[in-house]
């Protein structure tokens, strides 16, 4: 009996050792050489942008340093991506939907110092805003934010708790109502009505677009301007409606200090982000429907970016930390509007 017990245990240990050895082996090999892999962890709608940017930057970096490096990207919901980085996904740079998510990474100790000031324009090389996408001919005659609360208008937006883009939607609607009706209470009533009209509350921006276009749900989609423009490019069945006022969305970029110091990739990471500000990088952003910061590039692509009144989160809500706490944290206004 004793011998059998021993054999049983030994087999079990062998099994586990096998798993771990199998795992450890291959990864050790990769890590001992000089880092050749570079990872940009980004949010959902930047897939096409960074696919193009990485291709371009591979050449630029080869030219500059003579080294071959593979630039990979990972996309997903902004919050989820930030969490993966906190949990150990080795991102050299993050390019996320909102400053709050980068703040969380900084708070976990991965990014040091005032990252917001490290690069120009609040570390946001390109911007976007929130617009409406409606069906061809605008059958429900939607012109501005207050048309969204009318009876019988089906609204599609992602859930602000799980999607970065949706938080911009929510805050834009809030600020519109506050300016129009006067105070925060009225604004809360307004967004409550608006979310009462929501037909499907997807967890991410891309899911919402699909619900609107592929499933034919709802009459109006609250979307990133760049997402709306991509959709329009592929299909003539929709129209963009520009509201009277919207929010200036500033997607943030940052170098992840802990990772670049470990991998020795600080130089390339900083070059990567600086290239986003370079006219060539700005042009790639503009081609992918992000509003470039560079004035000349913006002028060149002006026709695709309509004029509208934009406010910033700092002016209207006193920054992301405050906005997050008041509106989206547990018990915040978003929770309140759903509590009957």
């Amino acid at each position: 009996m004793k011998i059998k017990k021993a054999i049983g245990l030994a087999l079990g240990i062998l099994l586990t050792a096998g798993i771990i050895a199998g795992c450890g082996g291959e990864d050790k090999k990769a890590a001992k050489e000089e880092a050749k892999e570079f990872l940009n962890v980004s949010y959902d709608p930047t897939r096409e942008l960074y696919a193009e940017f990485n291709k371009e930057f591979t050449k630029v970096w080869k030219h500059h340093s003579g080294k071959d490096m593979t630039f990979s990207q990972s996309n997903g919901g902004s919050g989820k991506q930030a969490r993966s980085v906190i949990e150990g996904l080795e991102a050299d740079v993050v390019t996320l939907a909102l400053a709050y998510d980068v703040d969380e990474i900084a708070q976990a100790g991965l990014i040091k110092g005032e990252w917001l000031k490290k690069f120009p324009n609040n570390s946001a090389p390109y911007t976007s805003t929130i617009v409406f996408l409606v069906r061809k001919g605008n059958p429900k005659n939607i012109k501005d934010w207050d048309d969204l609360i009318k009876d019988g208008v089906g609204v599609i937006t992602p859930n602000p708790k799980t999607s970065g883009g949706a938080r911009w939607n929510y805050l834009a609607a809030w600020e519109f109502a506050r300016r129009k009706y006067g105070d925060d209470n009225q604004a809360k009533e307004f967004v409550k009505k608006l979310f009462g009209n929501v037909v499907v509350l997807d967890s991410g921006a891309r899911g919402s677009t699909t619900s609107f276009t592929q499933r034919g749900q709802g009459d109006v989609l609250l979307a990133w301007e760049n997402e709306a423009l991509i959709t329009l490019k592929d299909s003539p069945d929709y129209e963009i409606v520009i509201p009277s006022i919207s929010i200036l969305a500033e997607p943030s970029v940052a170098v992840v200090d802990e990772v670049v110091d470990k991998k020795g990739t600080r130089e390339v990471a900083e070059a990567y982000i600086n290239y986003l500000y370079d006219p060539a990088g700005q042009e790639i952003a503009a081609k992918n429907f992000y509003r470039p910061r560079n004035k000349e590039v913006f002028e060149k692509y002006k026709s695709q970016f309509p004029d509208l009144k934009l406010f910033t989160i700092d002016d209207a809500f006193g920054g992301w930390t405050k906005a997050q706490k008041e509106h989206f944290a547990d018990g915040g206004t978003f929770d309140q509007i759903y509590t009957k």
Binding site: M1, K4, K5, I7, G8, L9, L11, G12, I13, L15, T16, I19, G77, G79, K80, A82, R83, I86, E104, N159, K161, T162, V198, V199, V200, L201, D202, S203, G207, Q214, R215, G216, Q217, F328, A329, D330, D335, Y338, T339, K340
Partner: protein
């Protein structure tokens, strides 16, 4: 007590070891991590009305789906084992497919089918049953992911069932139905319960397919796994863990109850 059949220490050792590595150690890490939150926060979070509503939706839909799967799973297993008909092999093979299809694909395909203008949805909407973006939709997704459990639990038992008792009963003049009720069904209770429990437990935790068809509206069609994701998106690991631990405990208790009941039945029948 002496074990007649050799191999007890070996199988016990191997089972416990594997279980520890794959299940218990990660589970312990998780509970340890969540443990930092303290009892009060745990209770406050776990009993928040929106979250409780999430459990209710998850459990109600998983229960209906598991019941429906039990009925149809039994019928399928029976037809596949006892009858010969053209296309039987194909039908048999199809049953496992829901597993191979990633839940997200299943969710997308089902949503397309069951929305108002989908191939099947149009009929349901016509009779006033909203099959997408409702609790019905969630149940449909859970039926899909649970199809194989009951059939595959019942099938092998039915196949290996001793036909002699059954034939004897028929010879003695019992009707087919009576034979089924008294001779066959009692043998199938154990696999049926197993299949039911598995389909139920799987349904409670299912996320990938459900999010597409649910609509995800708070207090209406928000399932508990989605709430876990929501908490995580806010970087609140402990709140997520609180919700997860409650769900896990309830599922574990239901599995324990069903397994315990089976032990009791076997003990009583003196197998």
């Amino acid at each position: 007590m002496r074990k007649v059949i050799p191999g007890f220490p070996f199988t016990l050792g191997l089972t416990m070891f594997y279980l520890s590595i794959i299940l218990l150690l990660p589970l312990a890490a998780f509970v340890f991590f969540a443990g930092g939150m303290g009892w009060e926060k745990f209770v406050a979070k776990a009993t928040e009305w929106r979250i409780v509503h999430g459990y209710i939706i998850s459990f109600a839909c998983a229960l209906s789906a598991a019941l429906i799967n039990s009925v149809f799973g039994l019928i399928l297993a029976w037809t596949l084992v006892r009858y010969d008909f053209p296309g039987k092999r194909v039908m048999d093979g199809l049953i496992d497919l829901p597993f191979a299809l990633p839940t997200a694909v299943a969710g997308i395909a089902l949503t397309t089918l069951y929305t108002e203008n989908g191939w099947l949805g149009q009929f349901f909407y016509a009779i006033g049953v909203p099959t997408a973006f409702s609790a019905v939709g969630i149940t449909i997704a859970l039926i899909f992911v649970g199809i194989p459990f009951v059939t595959r639990s019942v099938q092998p038992v039915l196949k290996d069932l001793d036909r002699q008792t059954e034939e004897a009963a028929m010879l003695l003049g019992a009707s087919k139905w009576l034979t089924f009720q008294k001779i066959i069904f009692p043998e199938l209770v154990s696999p049926l319960l197993t299949g039911f429990a598995l389909a139920f437990a799987r349904g409670i935790g299912e996320y990938g397919s459900v999010v597409f068809i649910a609509g995800n509206k708070p207090f209406e069609t928000e399932i508990a796994p989605l709430l876990i994701m929501t908490e995580l998106e806010q970087f609140d690991y402990q709140a997520a863990a609180a919700v997860a631990i409650v769900m896990l405990s309830i599922s574990f208790i239901s599995l324990l109850a069903i397994n315990g009941y089976q032990r009791y039945r076997i003990g009583r029948r003196g197998v």
